[in-house]
């Protein structure tokens, strides 16, 4: 009986010792690399100038198996002081023919889980990803939660399809916006390039 107890103790010790062994983890693959010029090459498909280091990479799965990516930053001030911007291969909506049509569809769904009263502050034609695009700046207010958001959406074209860039900056209702974040976003959008044809263009 004593011998059996000793054996169990030994087995337990061996198990504890083995569980302490370091397991070599395979190197984590990242979807991007830096070019000698300091730009980011994302999955050999997109190239852009990254924002300053206080912006964290944000990778979200949107729509249905479509991946977009972006960056986020916590801002000083009370909840919900945060800014995020992203590139979206398939922004909300279906109308491929006109930016205005897509804008109307997009804002039906944009930030739909926050019940906001949106007001368009500015709408203008812009040059983006080597072609014509549409930039819309809006402000949304939630008088119940006493929160507000300033957002800029830029629609551009990739082949036949409309793609989007957007930035949202949340603030408490009495907070003030930090417009320098929008300058960072504008630089990101201006530097954005497609390095190859999209999946849809190759079909």
């Amino acid at each position: 009986m004593k011998r059996k107890g000793l054996m169990i103790l030994c087995l337990m010790w061996v198990a504890a010792w083995l569980s302490g062994c370091a397991i070599t983890e395979p190197a984590k693959k990242v979807p991007y690399r830096l070019s000698p010029q300091g730009t980011v090459i994302w999955e050999d498909e997109f190239e852009f100038r990254p924002p300053p280091l206080d912006w964290k990479l944000l990778r979200v799965e949107v729509g249905e198996n479509d991946i977009s990516f972006g960056f986020t930053r916590s801002d000083p001030g009370g909840f919900p002081s945060v800014t995020a911007f992203a590139y979206d291969e398939d922004p909300f909506g279906c109308t491929a023919a006109s930016f205005e049509g897509r804008e109307r569809e997009f804002f039906k769904r944009f930030l739909f889980n926050a019940i906001l009263q949106f007001q368009i502050l500015e709408r203008k034609r812009v040059q983006v990803v080597g072609g014509e695009g549409l930039a819309v700046i809006v402000e949304g207010k939630d008088p119940v939660k006493k929160e507000k958001v300033r957002a800029k959406v830029v629609f551009g074209k990739r082949g036949d399809r409309i793609v989007g860039f957007y930035i949202t900056q949340w603030r408490p209702m009495d907070g003030s916006y930090d417009l320098s974040a929008f300058e960072v976003f504008d630089k990101f959008v201006a530097s954005f390039k497609f390095l190859k044809k999209s999946f849809y263009e190759t079909l």
Partner: protein, 104 residues
Amino acid sequence: MEGHQRNLYLYDRFNARVLGASRDDVITLKYFAKSLELTFPLLSNVTAFMGAYFDIQPEGKPIFGRRTVIIDKTGVVRYVRDGSPDFKDILLFLKKLNQEGGKP
């Protein structure tokens, strides 16, 4: 659904047509299609026989499970995937099927 609507021009290219089916009534589906500006047909199957046919009827629930099915021109089910549609996978499959001559 918006994803399918965005891809209609590609489905046309591959001689494919898309239909949606759910257990909602016609009025609900009309409203749904209008709100999303969908132009392809949505089928209302309140009695749920399609759920039994395609094996997507969860027991005791008044909804269909989410499943994408591709049927070729001879009526043979060639592709079945559960969950959110993988549009790139669907398009590649339709392209292949069209090249085979087995137009969906």
